[in-house]
Structure formats: C-alpha cells, structure tokens
C-alpha cells in the first residue's frame, strides 16, 4: 500500500488523459524475447532492477504506475489497457479473485517465489487468497503510530491516545477511508472488516469526536510533516517509518496495543494476460534475493523475501522491529478483505459524513 509523493493529484488526471495513448503505444515494439506489461504502485520499484531484467532476459518491460487500488481496478477491469502483471493490495486481490480476473499461478515456473518468500507471509495471505493460488507477496507492512519523543509526555502505545485532548492539533490521521476507520474500529474492539451498521456508526462517531483534535488528514505528507516536527503523532505505514527515522532520530514507530492492519501487496498475473510466460519470468526475477534486496533498499518497505533479508548489510535494519516485526507478538492483527460493493459504499458514505462535519 504504497503512497509516497504528490503524484496523487497528477496521476489520476494523467491516467485519464493518456490511457488511450499509452495503450496504443504499448502494443508496438518489444524486445527480442517479447515484452511484459507491468502495472505497479508509483515509485514502488528500483528502476535499475527493470533494466537488469531487460538485459538478462531480453524481454522488454513496459512499466505503468498507479496511485491507488481504486484507480487501478477500473482500468484493468475495462481492459482499456492489457496488463500482464499487477501489484494490488490484499483486499483488492480478493475483489479481483471474486470477479474472476486473475490467473492461477504455476509455482513450478516461479521457483524463487516458493524458495525465497517466507511461509508466514503465505499464511497471512490466506485472508484474501485462501489457497495461495493467485498471489505472490512483494511488500508488506503494518499501519502504526509514529510519534516524536520530544513532543509527548509519555510513550505512545495505543490508538486511544489519539483521542487525548492534550495532543489537540498535533495529530495527523490517514486520509483514506479504510485506514481511518480501521483506527476507530480497533479502538472500539471491532474487526476492521466489519460491515455491521451499528459498529460503523460507533466508529464514525469516534472519528467525528476526534476531528477537532486532528491537525490534518494526510497521505504522503505525513512523512514530511513528522520529519519537520510539525505534529507530535501521526498514523503511518511501517515502510515510511524507516525512512522518517533516518531523517529525524526523535521519531519512534509503534504497533498499537489494540491491534492494527497488516497489509500485503502481491504480484498477480491477469487471466487474460497477453504474455503469461514473460510475466512468470518477471515475477521470478523480482523474487530473486539480490533483486529483492535492491528493491527493499530503494523503497524501504518490508520485504517478505527471506533470502533478501539475509543480504541486508546494515544489522540494525536487518533486525529492526519496525521493518521486520515478529507478528506473533502482536494481538489483533488483521488484513483488509474486500467488503463487497455495498460495504464499500457504506464506508464511503460514512467517511464523507466525517469529513463534512
């Protein structure tokens, strides 16, 4: 669930404007061994690894980026552009499985995925891909609290402290429906996948109650604001936490006591992919230890690739509780699942009520 830069605003516009053009361009050309069309999150790969793949295999990579799962989905579904490999998040993968859009993966052709990706990540993936048939984990992480040690009186350990009035105007919340509701749901001990109207009403009221204390609802800017001491507490993805701590040593990342979201972004191959074999080769390459470690160092999001973790040179990062938390120690961790159209609509409706209040 990668959300890094200000492209959030530009990408949708550009995507709409150029969807037709890029689709037209992508059908021409190709390397000596054909091509593979990849659709990934923005800034979610080390570009060098793409070049290396092209050199080693002679397969041309046509690379396209999206900024949210919701922007990616209609483009893939409509078939306006034909992709081979996509990297959606957990709940979106379950939606794509529901709509029969994904091809079953033949692990014999992707040995690195079997050998290098840790078993626990396949286990966690079962929440959205029950038989591990369709997806291969690429990046994962938790959603937690980043706080500035110099700006709080006591260590922050739980979501409830985001409702503490002494941090008024010092709290940054995530500006996305599921993540914002997840915080309020965990606070009240609900599942983050609940569609029970009464529970959602409680969560909504908690968010409305919190709103006067919130400095801003942000996505990417949480990094810069926390680095710049603009707020004491921010809700953030663990992958961003490593980067912000490098820039500002006063920052501390915690997984809240009440539990939180564990998310996984995974490679999938589309059912009507035009270059299935090349897609398998591409995923196999990305699962290679030396390539995965390159990507980890570039994007700082936790890798599920055990071989890559062994190759990390910095011992602090390799054993970092932020980058590689021992998930068995934290209770109430959950992964988002697809809530169905009605569930999504209900969440969006309630979120608008929070925002317009």
């Amino acid at each position: 669930m990668k959300k890094r830069n200000m492209k959030k605003f530009l990408i949708p516009a550009l995507t709409f404007a150029f969807a037709g053009i890029t689709a037209g361009c992508s059908s021409s050309g190709g390397g000596e061994n054909g091509e593979v069309i990849v659709y990934n999150w923005g800034e979610y790969i080390d570009p060098e690894t793409l070049e290396q793949f092209e050199e080693e295999t002679g397969i041309k990579v046509i690379y396209d980026e999206f900024e949210t799962n919701e922007i990616m989905y209609p483009k893939v579904e409509s078939g306006a552009a034909s992709y081979d490999v996509v990297c959606p998040s957990d709940y979106m993968i379950s939606k794509m499985i529901d709509h029969d859009m994904l091809a079953e993966i033949n692990f014999d052709n992707i040995p690195n995925a079997r050998d290098n990706i840790g078993a626990q990540y396949y286990e966690q993936s079962k929440d959205f891909d029950p038989e591990n048939k369709y997806s291969i984990p690429y990046c994962w992480g938790t959603v937690g609290i980043l706080y500035n040690k110099t700006m709080v009186d006591e260590p922050i350990t739980k979501w409830a402290q985001l409702w503490d009035e002494k941090y008024a105007d010092n709290i940054l919340m995530q500006d996305s429906v599921r993540d914002a509701f997840m915080v309020a749901e965990k606070l009240n001990g609900f599942s983050m996948n609940t569609v029970d109207p009464a529970q959602l009403e409680t969560a909504k009221n908690a968010l409305i109650e919190q709103k006067p204390l919130v400095q801003a609802y942000v996505i990417d800017q949480v990094r810069d604001k926390m680095i710049g001491n603009e707020a004491a507490i921010g809700v953030i993805y663990s992958g961003e936490a490593i980067y912000t701590q490098r820039e500002n040593p006063d920052l501390e990342y915690v997984i809240p006591e009440e539990g939180t979201n564990v998310w996984i972004d995974s490679w999938v191959i589309l059912k009507d992919a035009p270059n299935k074999e090349n897609a398998e080769k591409f995923i196999n390459f990305m699962c290679r230890g030396d390539i995965a470690v390159k990507n980890f160092e570039y994007i700082t999001y936790s890798t599920p690739n055990d071989a890559a973790r062994e190759l990390i040179e910095d011992e602090d990062i390799k054993n970092s509780e932020t980058a590689f938390p021992d998930l068995s120690q934290y209770p109430n961790l959950e992964t988002y699942v697809y809530l169905g159209e009605d569930g999504d609509a209900l969440y969006n409706e309630l979120w608008k009520e929070v925002k317009s209040n």
Binding site: I71, A216, G228, N348
Partner: protein
Amino acid sequence: MTSEKSKWLSTPYVAWSIMFILIPLCMIFYYGLTDKSGAFTLENVAAIASAEHAKALWLSLLLSLISTLVCFLLAYPLAMILANLQVNQHSFIILIFILPMWMNFLLRTLAWQTLLEKNGVINSVLSFLHLPNINIINTPCAIVLGMVYNFLPFMVLPLYNALSKIDENVINASRDLGAGSIYTFFRITLPLSVPGIISGITMVFVPALTTFVISTILGGSKILLIGNVIEQEFTQASNWHLGSGLSIVLMIFIILNMITSAVFDKEGTGLI
C-alpha cells in the same frame, strides 16, 4: 478557395475538441445519468441534495465568492495603476505578475503550505522577532489565501485589458464638464470596465469553485469542498456515476456564470 483552406487548417482543432472536450463531456453525462447497471437515473444528480454534498457545495460557493471578491478588490487598483503607466513600465510589471505562473501550480500551493505551517517559514520569522504566530493553516482562511494567490493574475489581466482600452478623452471630457475624480470613476471608468470585471470574475470563480488541490493541501483535508467530494468518488470510492452526477450539478453553476458574462460582455472586450 479561402474557405476550403481555412476548413482544412481547422481540422486539428476540431479533432482536438472532439477527442478531449466533446467525448469526455459526453462521458460525464453518460456516467452522471446512469446507474451501475447502465439504466437511466437522475439519482446521481439529485444526490447533491444530501446533507454532506449540499454542505460541501455551499462551502465551495462561499469560499470561491470570497476569493473572487478579494481578488477583485486587490486587482482593480493595480489594474488602474498599470493602465496609466508608460508602455515599457507596464509590460515589466505584468511580467512580474505572470512570472509565478511559470512555476507549477501544485508546487506553488505546496510552497504556501511550507510557509504557513506551525513551524513554517512565516512563523519562524515571527518567532524570531518575538511576534505572535499566525495559525491559519488547515482552516478556510488558508484555502481562501491559496485561491487568491493562485487566481489573482486571472483577475488582473482582463481588468487591465478593459481599463487600458478606455479612451483618455472620455475621462478628460468628464473632468472638463466639472465631474470630480470620484464621480468620474463611478460614472465613467467603472461602467466602461464592466466587461473586464465580468471576465475576471469568471476566470477566478470557476477554477476556485472546482478546486480540490488547494483545499487538500492548505485545508489539511479537514474541509470538504465539492471538488474534493467529486475527486474522492473517482479515486477512492470508484463511483464514477456519482462523481459525474455531481460534476453535472457543478456545470450548471459554471454555465450560469458564463451566461452572465456573455450578457454583460457582448463585444468580448474583456477577453484577453
């Protein structure tokens, strides 16, 4: 012969308009007036009446009206000064006003965020001088500031254009006949500059009404404008039908504004 030639020359523009204006517009109407199954419905347009949407629309109208008014009050005196300057001087001042527009709009808005933040540039300077800090970031004030800053040139240029076209002799005649400068301004200058005023108002009001970037960046996403609602329907909620329906409602306001300007600006003098 000439008509044949001009037809041929206009082909790229016609193709451009069809591809990037007409087709997208038709798609908005298609999505806005159908539901998920493709059946005709007015529900998406009527959704503007729901509490959250109406509130967002009302807030957008209010903030864009305030911004337009502030822009007008700032731009009119400036345009008058410019219109009275020597040719080489005024082109320099206009250049200064246009210069920021060479930078990306997003970057300029982000720069304002950096300036206005709690530990931002302005507050650091104020603290250094032991003056009280200003805390307008993430409030409607910051959004209005962002709108005024970004759209002010669009008000200055048509006003300047209209004012510089006023014949000097008309004003001299008025003074000759004994009118004071205030009376001359309200009876001669102001009425003659109406086309410029209307054009300036349109060019500020329309983008201010539909913006979602300024309210996200400077309002901390705490203030929901109608532009934000529509953006979220597309990027987060995947509900293109509702997003398009609300866009149609917004178009009504924009068309109303354009009709007004067409009525007042029959000769097109206000246009640059």
